[in-house]
Symmetry: C2
Subunit: 417 residues, 2 copies
Amino acid sequence: MTAPSGFTSVDQWALGTIHRALGRPPIRLRCASGAEVSPAATPPLGLIEFSDRAALWRVVFDPEVGFGEGYAQGRILVQGDLVSMLEAVSLVMPEPKQQNRWVRMVLRWMNLVQANTLSGARKNIHRHYDLSNDFYSLWLDSQLVYSGAYFESQSATLEEAQSAKMDYICRKLQLRPGERVVECGCGWGAMALHMAGHYGVSVRAFNISRQQLLLARQKAKETGLSRRVEFIEDDYRNISGQADVFVSLGMLEHVGKEHYPEMGRVIERTLGKSGRGLLQFVGRNHSQPLSPWIRKRIFPRAYVPTAGEVLAFLEPGDFSVFDVENLRPHYARTLEQWLERFENSGEQVSKRFGPEFVRIWRLYLAQAIAGYRAGALQLFQVLFAGARCQQTPWTRAHLYESGRQTGTGSAPVHRMP
Amino acid sequence: MTAPSGFTSVDQWALGTIHRALGRPPIRLRCASGAEVSPAATPPLGLIEFSDRAALWRVVFDPEVGFGEGYAQGRILVQGDLVSMLEAVSLVMPEPKQQNRWVRMVLRWMNLVQANTLSGARKNIHRHYDLSNDFYSLWLDSQLVYSGAYFESQSATLEEAQSAKMDYICRKLQLRPGERVVECGCGWGAMALHMAGHYGVSVRAFNISRQQLLLARQKAKETGLSRRVEFIEDDYRNISGQADVFVSLGMLEHVGKEHYPEMGRVIERTLGKSGRGLLQFVGRNHSQPLSPWIRKRIFPRAYVPTAGEVLAFLEPGDFSVFDVENLRPHYARTLEQWLERFENSGEQVSKRFGPEFVRIWRLYLAQAIAGYRAGALQLFQVLFAGARCQQTPWTRAHLYESGRQTGTGSAPVHRMP
């Protein structure tokens, strides 16, 4: 411990205020003046150190953005396991009854400039997903799947778990050769290629990230699937034509609550009364705005819905919900592996994007792991079908059969050779 | 066909109006005067005959109650398979944009006199469930389970499927010996006794039907489970004390939408942050009032919710939804078996309650089968857990293991010897 030279009781008060606002986690707080708050009971998980008074006061004033920015700039230092410390905070931190006036103002301003209009959505998506395909190749799996995986066994690798996730969804949807699938937000194309290659369906896959589409089209050519998979650069609101199946993974988070009725109408006009669909998305237990720091630095204008909010926008289309599964622990595991790979490529990332970028992304990935571990974030898969859909299996046992080459249930699933 | 004596073009007009309002199903309509409407294309599934003009006009004026009452009184006769005909109507009948003024007035009046206050709920439940235990014994399974069963194989008997359903729910909940369970609405006690007898938990089971409780307590004595199962005559709103598990089958339909926030608070104060629960209930794809005839004759003040409406009342308690399953085809199968057994006991029921009662119950059961077959009704099981619950399995594979004596997942399920 440094000697309390330059100690001021005001710093001490600020640290105490922050510690209380965090719900008194087992974490020590210290600032450069030497002021310090130590938790009484449990041995502390680590230390958060404020290198200057401005960084400290910004956290008092605007906890989430203040901490995120201070950490990114290297003015707030963390000693100890970042994920465990964030998890501890997530477990004890009371939800603010109301954001303070400054935070509310900033949120309103962000809502305005980040609005998901057709052009706004393109800008928002571009900022995250067009960073560079090389960057994502450093820490995602070899197929570049940027959504929660499914670890059938706890010892599965990330590559196995991403393949298993895609296959699990195909089995839930009971895809049959020749069916028409619309994929809404297709990333680098892994799911579209998996469905076409293994289940013999034809896919129209929509995306507004140009970088992702370039690579997706290249992969389709390389695997000889260009005839069955069409990658289309367009907004979900412009999806036209009918399909048997609608699928969307990790895209709903970018739609924004105010556009859910539009999303519902797109699904309804695509599937009619007899189609079926699956949505995978990050969810919440109850409605609350996304962290303003995450919106500022990572996902502009994103909103993480409750399962009920998603079911609600499926109601006007008279869709029957058949299966909702929460795969929360699987997303924690996925993110742990992403973070590990990311840290291993830290130097490369730092060379290209600078050390501040590395700290921003580390904090984003670590916060997400903490959220899933603490039960604050959920990963939902929602399977639904038109009221006249005949593709509903008798039980879900076919999803879990060992040695399954073909599914079971009322509609067997066939694999392409 | 009878000769068209006394034929009037007004009867003809009325029949045409009814046929159009039903969405032009492949069903012939005829009235005593000889007026008739025959569907053009498909061979008709059957014939609906109005024996007098008053019965005919009541249907024009108030389709659902008019048909139900006319059928009950024997003034509307049905030739052909009642279930198939109702299913055909359910498939094509357009949902009325707005009920007519008379129906709205009747619904408002029913809302008032059937309100689910503490005493009102007792009256409403008494009217249905206290009819007599002997009556229900005639057509339910041997354990008297009055909710949708789970047919693991399509050839399972009703008794097997009801046992399978209860066990499936215990596995979903991963019950462990010694845990405390609250059951909300326990019928004749089968589920409470199954949980205590096979999983070693202790159960407090609530119900406001006295007839059901009398039999449930007797069964607890006979099976030596009185020490572990307490049957309590009280309203769900009076449930107090903590539990590890909250379970409720086929009871939510009686709560009424306006009392959902109360239901949510009861579950929250029972489970806290670490408990878990399962609700099984009849559901809808989208919000709509229950048939006024069903409310008048079968279930006073019942309301059938959407899955989203149920998830919504779990949100304030910060519960994580882990699994929503729609078992619609299983309830159709369950009801088919109930109806078959009911018809086999028709004479006995008629002797005790009269032929009108038999027709009312036949129509109720047949309508329900038709609703599930046509996709208008759903059967949901919602599994949820407090945000701090540690009892969440890694996958759902343990639910479908063959030869399962013990479950798998993070928390193995133990059976009592």
